[in-house]
């Protein structure tokens, strides 16, 4: 173990030597989580070159943003990171509110925080499910989807959709919570830590899981910052950077939560960090549910002009999505449409680190690494 990313030193064992082979890994491959394509150069099974080719899911979302008024773009943001639609919505409406100068009423802020944290849980559940099935553990997939189903039910009860939520509007929220929603949500959050224990019982201490993940794909803190990696990947490398803490948006300033970090920056640490984040998210949701009754009946939408017009100016607003910092850079030109709306996609930036992580590892590790970077190709390609 001498190379920076934890790959075994090629000179230390003579198992794989010989000619290079090119392997086109994807875009139709069970482990690439969509349509990622990696052009691999391999020696035996050792990866000596990895070149990601993306864009198979490019839909021109940024062009679409320029064509529509601010409020019509919210459903388009759903479709970028389609397993974490609420945080996409939150980042977008946050950017619009900053551009237009709206202040969100407290009840809307609490509900938004709850939705964002539930979305983080559901996104991490999908990550865990696919990550585990990539490493060969089949059963966590079904356990995770069982719980995810409950989260999606909560979303369905709140806004009517399960995946592409369209659940926020610039200035507030479209709906108040339905009756009984808070109780259902509380029940879920109280059950949920036991379920996390179940997943952890299957994986955390399992020696096969540990051998597959510990020391695989080490990302040093310097390299992580250099590559623009954010989110759980950065925190697993030992940098406790979390936008929810450093610039508390929505209701994060009013709740207590910890930012889990780990030191080694390998695949196992990324796993540990995300598992701990799910536990923290349930705590945040429970605290927000406690804060909610005080605002019962309060407004959920700020006073705003009938047609939102972006002033001549530009803002950047980033929030902590499940996968990293998701931000929107919006340029207004005095019309109801954004002149330019650029997304800072966390998956895109995190995927950039994959060649660094994968070099020198085996093909089997590559699969674990794709899983642990937690990419969604809808967001990488937009």
């Amino acid at each position: 173990m001498s190379t920076p990313n934890g790959a075994p030193d090629p000179s230390s064992d003579r198992l794989f030597t010989g000619e290079e082979m090119e392997l086109s890994f994807g875009p139709q491959h069970p482990a690439t989580h969509g349509v990622l394509r990696l052009n691999l150069k391999i020696e035996g099974e050792r990866i000596v070159g990895c070149y990601p080719i993306i864009g198979y899911l490019h839909r021109g979302t940024e062009k679409l943003f320029e064509l529509h008024p601010f409020f019509q773009n919210v459903p388009h943001t759903d479709r970028m990171d389609y397993i974490a639609a609420a945080t996409n919505n939150l980042a977008y409406v946050g950017a619009v509110e900053k551009l237009v100068g709206l202040t969100v009423p407290p009840r809307a802020r609490y509900i938004r925080t709850i939705l964002a944290e539930l979305q983080r849980i559901s996104s991490h559940l999908v990550w865990l499910a696919t990550h585990a099935i990539d490493i060969g553990a089949m059963t966590p997939f079904f356990y995770c989807f069982r719980e995810r189903e409950r989260v999606l039910d909560l979303f369905e009860q709140y806004c009517g959709a399960r995946l592409t939520l369209n659940c926020m509007r610039p200035g507030g929220l479209p709906f108040d919570l339905p009756a009984g929603w808070a109780d259902t949500c509380r029940r879920f959050c109280e059950d949920y830590p036991a379920k996390i224990d179940e997943y952890e019982g299957l994986l955390t201490e399992n020696r096969i899981w540990k051998r597959r993940t510990v020391g695989v794909g080490v990302l040093s803190p310097e390299a992580a910052l250099d590559l623009g990696v954010t989110g759980p990947m950065l925190r697993a490398s030992g940098i406790g950077f979390d936008l929810r803490k450093v610039r508390p948006y929505e209701a994060y300033g009013e709740v207590e939560f910890a930012v889990p970090t780990a030191q080694n920056g390998d695949t196992y640490d990324r796993y540990i960090v995300r598992m701990a984040e799910m536990r923290e998210s349930t705590k945040i949701v429970l605290q927000c549910l406690d804060l909610l009754p005080a605002t019962e009946g309060g407004p959920i939408m700020a006073k705003r002009p009938r047609v939102l017009k972006g002033p001549k100016g530009e803002v950047y607003h980033g929030i902590e999505g499940p996968k990293g910092e998701i931000g929107f850079y919006i340029v207004g030109d005095g019309t109801p449409n954004p002149y330019r709306c650029h997304v800072r996609p966390p998956s895109f930036m995190n995927l950039q680190s994959l060649p660094d992580l994968a070099n020198g590892h085996l093909v089997a590790d590559l699969v674990a690494l794709i899983g642990s970077t937690d990419i969604v190709l809808g967001e990488v390609d937009r």
């Binding site: 529509h68 409020f71 019509q72 773009n73 919210v74 459903p75 388009h76 759903d78 479709r79 059963t139 356990y143 069982r146 189903e149 039910d153 369905e156 009860q157 709140y158 806004c159 009517g160 959709a161 592409t164 369209n166 479209p174 709906f175 339905p178 179940e198 019982g201 299957l202 994986l203 201490e205 399992n206 020696r207 096969i208």
Partner: protein, 160 residues
Amino acid sequence: MTAWKRFLDRFLLLDLFAGLSITGRALFRKKETVQYPEERLAPAHRFRGMFRLDEERCIKCNLCAIDCPIDIIYIDWHQELNEATGKKEKKLDRFDIDLQRCMFCGLCETGCPTEPKSIWLTTKTYELATYDRWQNLYADKEQLEGWRGRPAYTDEEIAK
């Protein structure tokens, strides 16, 4: 002590047995599967499903078509003299929705100015699949109004 424990752990495989016990317990647990065509989960009250239109409530203002982010609502209307009242009224010629592209965002319902809404998605209808792509995927006025005669998902069915 810990070294001793670690040594024992190498041979006892306790971690593996812990995993086996978790899956083993699941063997006897109640199964989560919903047998779809026989049992159906009731959609939530706000569930956004198939469109419905009420022409009498509709004031032909086009707001739903304007609010639609992907412009899939097509409305044509003309003025017509109502013999009974002697007033001019708007008549719908065409109210089409290209459901192939619809993403069920619900912005048309939000934009509708009438009360109650004359276009709404909370019909709890999600079984939109058809064998012929033009049969249901391109909904015209008659299909959108068909909810009176043909509620695709009756309350009794949901309760079942």
